[in-house]
């Protein structure tokens, strides 16, 4: 079947709700209206009002109730309507979801997913454009996933729902519908914690994920050198090995992400390369990121996130030294 990323989300939800009666989907406007991006379309019709639920406008309760449901043995998949509305629930992630297993020595667990569209570029209002994985990936006990293709989206979401630990599933909404690809029918998983090498190359390693992958791949096409492109897919826990092995081969690296630079995930990738492959580096690792500013309102939002020429420029810098 050919599907876009958002269709792959929907397909994964249909697949897993059919396979596992314990899966419950809820959030603001997910049931009757099928979600503001239609990611939960037709779930209410197919699985009924017990398992597909419109909730009050209460992000704290959405994330917290997901945790309680998971502790009780359900498999909750909660939607936060936009990533800019996850911060009210930050405490529930830090204080509860990520610590239930730890707090009870594994007696209780929180196998739950919080899905949310993230990133800029859909001409929406303030707080509809954030990429704050840098903060969320700092929470021990929480997994953070960000797919970049329809195939991975479905496979990672299925794996996330089945994962024994809480997963924040960040969906790259700018590219929700920007391309279709073949997505297997039915069941399959893309394992969490494993990066994918999207393109093999010898000269430079380019690491990216989620919303930035298409621009990264586009930049690499323009390059007069042979780049290896690593799609992290899971931000936490991060697949250091794949990144490091690639850098050991190429000796040069660029990290591309949409969120702010300072204390962003890019810095962590640089630090991991430093830890294990510093002596292989022939040039500083370049970071191509959003700025240390809020995302501009829509009129200038396109300035904020990296585009192919900016990525290309950084790769060329990395190659120039």
């Amino acid at each position: 079947m050919q599907a876009t990323i958002v269709e792959a989300v929907n397909d994964a939800l249909h697949t897993e709700m059919a396979a596992d009666d314990d899966v419950v989907v809820f959030g603001e406007d997910v049931a009757e209206s099928g979600g503001v991006f239609r990611a939960t379309d037709e779930l209410l019709e197919e699985f009924g009002a017990d398992r597909v639920v419109d909730t009050p406008l209460s992000e704290i309760a959405i994330v917290g109730a997901a945790t309680g449901l998971a502790m009780y043995g359900k498999r909750p998949v909660a939607e936060i309507q936009f990533s800019g509305f996850l911060p009210p629930a930050f405490d529930q992630l830090v204080t509860n979801a990520s610590r239930i297993r730890w707090r009870t020595r594994g007696e209780l667990t929180a196998p739950m997913v919080v899905r949310m569209p993230y990133g800029a570029g859909v001409r929406a209002l303030e707080h509809h454009s954030e990429s704050m994985e840098g903060a969320y990936a700092h929470i021990p006990g929480l997994k953070v996933v960000a797919p970049s293709t329809p195939h991975d989206t479905k496979g990672l979401l299925l794996a996330s729902i089945r994962d024994p630990d809480p997963v924040l599933f960040m969906e790259p909404k700018r590219i929700y519908r920007s391309f279709r690809e073949d997505v297997p029918e039915g069941d399959y998983e893309v394992p969490l914690g494993e990066a994918a090498v999207r393109r093999e190359g010898e000269d430079v390693t380019v690491v990216s994920w989620g919303s930035m992958m298409p621009a990264t791949l586009e930049a690499v096409e323009e390059l007069d050198a042979d780049a290896e492109v690593v799609d992290l897919r899971t931000i936490s826990p991060l697949d250091t090995e794949t990144v490091v092995e690639s850098v050991k081969k190429t000796g040069r690296a660029v990290v591309v992400h949409e969120g702010p630079r300072s204390n962003g995930v890019g810095g962590d990738v640089v630090a991991r390369i430093n830890d294990e492959a510093l002596m292989y580096l022939e040039a500083p690792v370049e970071r191509v990121t959003g700025f240390d500013t809020p995302v501009p309102l829509l009129s200038m939002e396109d300035y904020y996130f990296p585009h192919p020429p900016r990525i290309l420029d950084a790769i060329e810098n990395a190659l120039a030294v």
Binding site: E32, L57, F85, A124, R261, F291, L298
Partner: protein
């Protein structure tokens, strides 16, 4: 030191034996204030004390609200706006309340745009706001007001603003508009309770327009009314018919008076959003045409026109001329907004801190340099002056 003497203890106060009694919301009678009935009838004694010009003013502002929404939806459809949230159906609720406010009052709104115009914000700046141009909000701020996009997030700010007024002894109130959906947020709860506990001049004006996007108000909470939520904060409340501009005006005026005296008040205005949530929303997915049609019968402008007719004020109102004026104002505002000058790159970086820290300065300079060196960036970015 507060004394929690056991004389206050229920052991010594009113107690009930027998079966434990459940306190229920049926113990409450929540009236809804109304001046002009749906059929246009009213009791002359109940009409608020406004002069003829003020009565006409209310009409003009309601009409402004309606025309503005219509025009905005239409330019959005032409691709000249990112998105927009229409206020059609809520004109009485919006105008009747905002008409009570003074320039020195602070106003933080949810779904209510015309109150900015009433405070002197040029229409042009509201268009800029919806086009995603930050200068719109700068203009609102110049008039002690802001729009909150993250639902409920502004309530704590309003508690703080009111506290500031209280500390400074200023004769003003801080007003928060909020929706039915916003009442479910933790931020709203903490803020309203905080304002109640501290006794600061905050006015909470809740427009219950029956929906939070697709969720009907009666699924938002088990409470029968939103007004009764005020009792959780020890705050007094008024519930008012939000389709009756005079009732809203009177209720909020009285509320504002109390607030000025340091007693925060919560007002629920019962109204209806006739249009979609925003231009990206398809309301047919969650409500029936019959429901909408029935509410169309409670058009607040029509009801108020009946009143003006009864008062003999309608003759002096040239409805079409007013509409033309508002349209002309909108045309001029749109033209001005269309000419809003392209902004410099520095605008992205300049207002994050008073002084740009070195790393940010570096990011800025590198970006400007990049744009210079890589003109092909223009294939990917351009300022969208129309959102």
């Amino acid at each position: 030191m507060t004394e929690n003497a056991p004389t206050d203890h229920p052991a010594n106060a009113a107690v009930s034996a027998g079966d434990p009694r459940f306190l229920t919301q049926d113990d409450l009678t929540v009236d809804t204030h109304q001046v002009v009935g749906p059929d246009g009838s009213y009791d002359a004694d109940d009409v608020p004390d406004l002069d003829a010009e003020q009565f006409r003013d209310l009409y003009r502002w309601m009409l402004t609200d309606r025309v503005f929404s219509r025009r905005m939806v239409s330019i959005q459809r032409r691709g000249e706006l990112g998105t927009f949230g229409s206020t059609r159906g809520q004109e009485a609720s919006i105008i009747g309340s905002a008409y009570t406010l003074q320039p020195e009052d602070w106003l933080y709104v949810g779904r209510a745009w015309t109150p900015m115009f009433m405070r002197g914000v040029p229409m042009e700046d509201m268009i800029l706001f919806w086009r995603g141009i930050e200068e719109g909000q700068q203009s609102f701020a110049e008039h002690n007001s802001q729009i909150a996009i993250s639902i409920g997030s502004h309530l704590p700010l309003v508690a703080g603003l009111a506290w500031g007024m209280d500390l400074s002894g200023d004769d003003a109130v801080a007003t928060a508009y909020l929706g039915d959906g916003a009442t479910s947020t933790g931020a709203a709860h903490e803020a309203i309770n905080f304002a109640g506990a501290l006794g600061v001049p905050a006015l909470f004006y809740c427009q219950n327009n029956q929906y939070a996007i697709s969720l009907a108000a009666d699924e938002q909470t088990g409470a029968n009314t939103l007004a009764q939520k005020a009792l959780a904060y020890g705050m007094d409340a008024i519930r008012v018919d939000g389709q009756d501009v005079l009732a809203v005006y009177e209720a909020v005026s009285e509320a504002r008076e109390r607030v000025r005296e340091g007693e925060p008040v919560f007002v629920e205005s019962v109204t209806y959003r006739l249009d979609a949530h925003t231009t990206s929303d398809d309301p047919t997915r969650y409500r029936s045409d019959e429901e909408v049609d029935a509410w169309e019968q409670h058009d607040p402008l029509e009801r108020y026109r009946e009143f003006l007719k009864s008062e003999g004020l309608w003759e002096d109102v040239d409805h079409d001329a007013i509409v033309d004026e508002i349209e002309a104002e909108f045309d001029a505002a749109l033209e001005a907004a269309n000419e809003f000058a392209e902004r410099e790159i520095v605008e992205i970086f300049a207002h994050v801190y008073e002084e740009m820290p070195p790393e940010l300065q570096r990011q800025y300079e590198e970006f400007v340099d990049l744009l210079d060196r890589r003109p092909e960036m223009c294939d990917f970015i351009e300022q969208r002056p129309k959102g």
